[in-house]
Amino acid sequence: MNTRKLLSTLIVGGILFASCSNDDDNPAPINEGELITTMKISLVDGSDTVTLTVKDEDGEEGPAKPVIDISGNLKANTRYSGSVELLNESETPAELINEEIEAEADEHQFFYETSAALNITTAYTDKESDYKKEDGTSFTTTNPVGLTFTVTTTDAGTGTFTVTLKHEPNKAAEGVAEGNISNAGGNTDITQSFDITVQ
């Protein structure tokens, strides 16, 4: 092959390649769909509601610390019915994440741990079969999920109440269905402790 021809092809080719792949459009922003900014726990006793809220405006990626808000103290010797609301408040209107958890109820579970001084017991009041899969059919399995639960107080005390949402926990492991996190494994999607007082 003619040397000069080959070389000029090489050089021209190279320049063409280099110049045409350049484009000046700005990239599109990514608003993280997976973001959970807010978890709101409502504990209801008749007309009396105590809310425990944590809001992390920039999620797991950002430096901002989660802000905790506790609306009040719990009463002694009371049975509260509890529910969880998960929100992505970085979007307007805020996106409710609960549906996502419900649609994959078999792969998620909330755990409620309390420090001994608090004299509180918790119990699950829901099961997987309460929720519908993405295709509209209900789950047939009956392991707990923990989107609803009860909190029963006894004597007065103070301590921490920790809420953890696990993804892909081993629900069959010992104690997990009763709410014991230690054998659960899995990945942590949310975890937050609240300092609360029972009086």
Binding site: L10, S21, H167, T188, I190
Partner: protein
């Protein structure tokens, strides 16, 4: 060519006619160009005299006059070469010939220099070792070289470390092309198939300026087997199978050469492994599935030639299931547990988390030789690198989406001229232009870890090599590189302020997206690198090398722009826009003795790096998902002091022992604190029995002792939300020392006239020792590999 040679020989022969005292002697050896093996029966011809080498390749010529002679050195199966020597100035000379007929490209005209640099520390591994690691990776094979270790993520993601430095500081030349495959990430292994290489050379340091000026760690040069300019058709197939991982690889190559210089070459590799195993349990989700193919053709004549090369590489790698953790408590638990939380049954299936990388490489090259001047090379190459990383995400729908989806395209044009007409004074000048584009696909729905960017590079270099006498060679070189980085990067406004960028970089903001800023950082870097050194050969068997190298490296995109949670590592990685180039001054000395009976090499070095860029854990950041360890990039002045040493002895014609030791210490200058991820010292000893008469029988036993790394940066205290108190996160504590025993045996059988079958068996970790390696990023979660049997067959035809 031949005609010229004879002309030269007869012209020089005429010199003899002048009356001089003729009592000079010339002696030395004729050795194999590739592996230094002595060549018996080689002939050295001049002025109608012919001298033949003995069994150890030695020769001695007496009755020479003090003038220049042209010696024609030949050996059966080798192309002859002509070397001009002034016998008045020298009395000893080793000639190296290209022995493997298969691998001839062209006659190397100079006598001795078959290394990449004259004065730097370097070492080459040949086809024997490459064959042994055919089912493993480049990084595994390179650990055979003293001073080379690796940064692993499990056993399948292996990044080479050269004298304590890795990543962007190590440049990989694959078949003449500088790999552009996102080498910035700790868990990004080189996207190369080791089976494409005929030999691999490691230059320990930035002294090989023609390849790049930023190789503060070193350069890894992979070269293919060469095709002879003759009518031939040959090939090779390698099969290997391993018990651990229950898999293996097959690699095949076919080469067709023609006398007129045309050649065609096709090669392919397939590799598949399931879950690997430690002595006690299965490492779930550690399988690999690798596919590689390459094709090349062209014309290779002595005066000119061109070729086209294309290679494809695809690798799907599972990442240890148990290493996917949620937050700092999960990490604390993992470190305390010492046993993986997830152990499943063996499977070939690769689940999330996993990586899927594809690399396409195309190259066009042209060279022309100009009589009495030199050789001109021009090359254009294109690389396309695609990386997917899949994680376990909150919903199944999202788990199907990659968390990282990056596309890196690189175009490079290089041209250089090597002036080699005067064998005493060789020099090389060259230029480089490169354009690179990175695209991060927003389809991941995860914030981009590496932003979209355009990068422009230009470089120019000149290197020279001057033979002061036949025993002393000096070399020097200088290089200038320009890099421009033009990125489009999103920052969370909270992060932007936390980093203090609102004070320093507010002019970079180009658009406001509610919670995020879109910024357009454009940075220019001017880097100068240089090297100088000397090689001195004395008393026949001794060689001394001294080299100084100055190198500057511009920061990579990861060091500048990382920001956010790296899901696969469960850590927040923060780059810094203020990071500037790092500058290394390295002094390396090599002293060696090589004889048939025994030999040694000792190679100390000192590398002083100003503004060294390092990534280390600094603390925690709290979020609704728990607390995550924060790893930050920062710059500091450091020193790396080390030594590589080895010794061999042929005790008997069948028995040989090899010993090597390497150590490096890395410290920050001001604080005198140890650097993170510095390899621990290693001490290797092996004994080999070989007997050529028993079908080339070879058996060796190797002992590898890995010391504990006692110098490491302090651990960090962190708040554990789960334990509701501060605990010491033992993220830097190295694991204990360990000792491994390995064995290897091989035999060779002829199958007819040209075909050859080689059978080999390797047993790694014979004692099934449980151990963890400091430089394995999964050491927190699981043990390293247990015993492994590897059987390999290689057929040459």
């Amino acid at each position: 060519m031949k005609r010229h040679t004879w002309l030269l020989v007869s012209l020089l022969g005429i010199n003899l006619l002048s009356a001089q005292e003729c009592d000079k002697t010339l002696s030395g050896r004729v050795i194999d160009f590739h592996d230094g093996a002595p060549l018996e029966g080689a002939t050295i011809t001049f002025n109608n005299r012919t001298i033949v080498t003995d069994a150890s390749g030695r020769y001695s010529i007496t009755g020479l006059c003090a003038t220049a002679y042209a010696f024609t050195v030949s050996h059966e199966k080798c192309n002859s070469q002509v070397v001009t020597l002034d016998v008045g100035k020298t009395s000893s000379k080793d000639f190296s010939l290209e022995h493997h007929l298969n691998e001839l490209e062209e006659v190397k005209v100079s006598g001795v220099n078959n290394t990449k640099t004259t004065s730097a520390q370097e070492e080459t591994i040949g086809s024997d070792i490459i064959e042994k690691y055919g089912s493993a990776s480049l990084g595994d094979a390179l650990r055979e070289i003293t001073g080379v270790s690796s940064l692993n993520t499990g056993s399948t993601i292996v990044k080479p470390i050269i004298q304590g430095l890795s990543g962007s500081r190590v440049l990989i030349m694959n078949n003449g092309v500088r790999m552009q495959d996102m080498e910035w990430g700790d868990e990004h292994a080189p996207n190369v198939d080791i089976n494409t290489a005929g030999n691999v050379t490691v230059v320990k340091g930035a002294s090989a300026l023609q390849y790049g000026g930023d190789a503060i760690g070193g350069v890894i040069i992979m070269e293919p087997r060469k095709v002879p300019a003759k009518d031939t058709l040959f090939g090779k197939t390698r099969l290997s199978g391993a018990v651990n991982g229950r898999g293996g690889s097959v690699s095949s190559e076919l080469i067709k050469g023609y006398k007129n210089g045309w050649f065609f070459k096709v090669q392919g590799t397939l590799k598949r492994f399931g879950d690997l195993e430690t002595p006690d349990y299965v490492l779930s989700n550690t399988g690999v599935f690798e596919k590689g193919a390459s094709l090349s053709f062209g014309v290779n004549k002595f005066t000119h030639g061109w070729d086209a090369y294309y290679s494809f590489f695809d690798n799907e790698i599972g990442v240890l299931a148990t290493s996917h953790i949620g937050n700092v408590d999960d990490l604390i638990n993992a470190i305390n547990e010492q046993q993986p939380a997830i152990i499943r049954d063996f499977t070939y299936k690769i689940d999330n988390p996993k990586q899927e990388v594809t690399h396409h490489l195309g190259r066009l090259r042209y060279f022309k030789r100009f009589e009495e001047l030199g050789k001109w090379n021009t090359q254009y190459d294109f690389q396309y690198n695609k990386r997917f990383e899949f994680d376990i995400r909150r919903t199944e729908e999202r788990t199907k989406l990659p968390s990282i989806d990056l596309e890196l395209k690189t175009h490079t044009l290089t041209s250089d001229f090597s002036f080699d007409s005067n064998p005493d004074f060789l020099w090389n000048v060259g230029v480089l232009f490169r354009y690179q584009n990175n695209f991060a696909d927003p389809g991941t729905k995860v914030r981009r870890l590496i932003p979209d960017y355009d990068k422009y590079d230009a470089g120019v270099f000149i290197t020279g090599e001057y033979g002061v006498t036949n025993d002393i060679i000096m070399d020097a070189g200088i290089r200038y590189d320009y890099n421009r980085m033009d990125a489009k990067k999103f920052y969370l406004k909270t992060r932007w302020d936390e980093r203090g960028y609102d004070m320093d970089f507010s002019d970079l903001i180009i658009e406001d997206f509610n919670t995020q800023w879109l910024t357009n950082p454009v940075f220019d870097y001017h880097s100068v690198s240089g090297t100088t050194g000397i090689q001195y050969t004395f008393k026949e068997d001794y060689e001394f090398r001294f080299n100084y190298a100055l190198a500057q490296r511009a920061p990579n995109p990861s060091e500048l722009f990382s920001d956010g949670l790296h899901h696969s590592a469960a850590r927040i990685e923060l780059g810094d826009l203020r990071i500037d180039q790092e500058t290394s001054h390295k002094i390396a000395v090599t002293a060696q003795k090589n004889t048939e009976k025994w030999g040694w090499e000792i190679a100390p070095y000192a590398n002083f790096i100003n503004d060294y860029i390092l990534l280390e854990p600094v603390g925690l950041e709290l979020s609704i998902r728990g607390a995550f360890p924060v790893w930050e990039y920062r710059q500091t002045n450091v020193r790396l002091l080390g030594v590589d040493a080895k010794l061999y002895a042929n005790w008997h014609q069948n028995w040989r022992t090899d010993h090597s030791f390497s150590m490096v210490k890395g410290k920050e200058n001001e604080k005198d604190v140890a650097l993170i991820n510095i390899p621990a010292p290693t001490f290797d000893n092996s004994i080999t029995y070989s007997n050529k008469n028993w079908f080339g029988f070879n058996i060796s036993l190797e002992s590898q002792y890995f010391f504990r790394q006692n110098e490491y940066p302090p651990n960090i205290p962190v708040f554990s939300p789960q334990q509701n108190e501060n605990v010491l996160l033992e993220i830097n504590t190295p694991p204990d020392a360990y000792h491994l025993l390995n064995a290897d045996t091989s035999m060779e059988f002829s199958l007819g006239e040209r075909n050859k079958l080689k059978v080999g068996l390797t047993i790694n970790n014979i004692l099934n020792t449980s151990y963890r390696n400091y430089l394995n990023r999964q050491r927190y979660f699981a043990d390293d590999l247990g015993r492994n049997f590897l059987l390999r067959l290689s057929i040459n035809y």
